[in-house]
């Protein structure tokens, strides 16, 4: 879970759950909660301990491995969607949506791509909609109460061929699907 912004005095050590971080003055740290602390990372003035199974998001520039995303910009792509998901009534559904957003963010970091932010909406039918909206097309993911009904779509206008593609999310390798969709975004955004 991503914590709130934390601003500290110089040299102070913060503890949030299992994660500790030391930040410089006026730095903003994004700190995940971890369990089974296994490794220590140091980037600039930020030091954080986290679980190997968690994906931490740490500011202060420089990437240090594919598990980690550097900078504020990449995180800002999913921040609005994460905020909306926190208000979902079905917390299990919200967690599934969050996991999908984290996978998307990992791909964004890998492609070093900055783009329009992802948006999330809590629909009246109990599902969560995640949309990535561009001028000529949009990509969507629907997280349904019945997992087998969760799906994705890609729709485009006439300029991009009037695509109306869709499919299901369960029972497939989502990373390959996401990489394919990202390829479309990179080419057309």
């Amino acid at each position: 879970m991503i914590s709130q912004f934390i601003e500290t005095d110089t040299q102070n050590v913060l503890s949030v759950g299992d994660v500790k971080a030391k930040t410089a003055v006026s730095e903003h740290a994004y700190i995940t909660f971890g369990s089974d602390v296994q490794s220590v990372l140091t980037v600039g003035d930020v030091r954080a301990e986290m679980s190997a199974s968690e994906h931490p998001y740490i500011t202060r520039g420089g990437s240090f491995g594919r598990k980690y995303i550097s900078g504020v910009e990449e995180y800002s792509i999913i921040a609005p969607a994460l905020k909306a998901i926190r208000e979902a009534k079905d917390k299990q559904l919200a967690e599934k949506a969050r996991q999908l957003l984290l996978k998307l963010l990992e791909l964004v970091g890998r492609f070093r791509m900055l783009s329009a932010p992802l948006r999330a909406f809590n629909a009246d039918d109990g599902s969560i909609l995640i949309e990535w909206i561009f001028h000529n097309f949009r990509i969507g993911f629907t997280i349904e109460p019945k997992q087998e009904e969760s799906g994705w779509y890609l729709v485009s206008n006439k300029e991009l061929g009037e695509i109306h593609a869709y499919g299901y999310l369960s029972g497939m390798d989502n990373r390959k699907l996401l990489a394919w969709l990202f390829g479309f975004v990179m080419t057309n955004s």
Binding site: I133, R138, T142, Y168
Partner: protein
Amino acid sequence: MEYPDRCIRGIPNETYLTDGGVAAHLFYFDFQYTRDDGWIEQSVNWEDNKDAIPFTINQKTTQGKQFKAGVAIVPRNQIDNIKSAPTIRGALSYERKSLSDNPYHGNLLLISGTPPVKMKLIAASLALQVSEIVKQ
């Protein structure tokens, strides 16, 4: 039957607005509105004349304005394009259905049995084609 060039969909509140447009769930079909003929209704108004948009904007319920965030306009030729798309053909239609207190009323129609993900594909296609938003 003749139809005008534009279709009007009311926007209940700001949660449906995003990034200069509307989110797809503005056009979600509610399966509880399935009719005996196998179609699922989604209320719209048709822009038969210049009064249609103001009429829709001012529609009220017992709790005040029905469409607090305004209305979204979808060109009918775009609905026709969506209707004829290979992955959608046969699933989407529309009709007029005027009411005693609403002469502009009609419905977008979804064929029953459409899986949720396909319904949401159609909804997203409609949202993408919104040409104008008229706010309260």
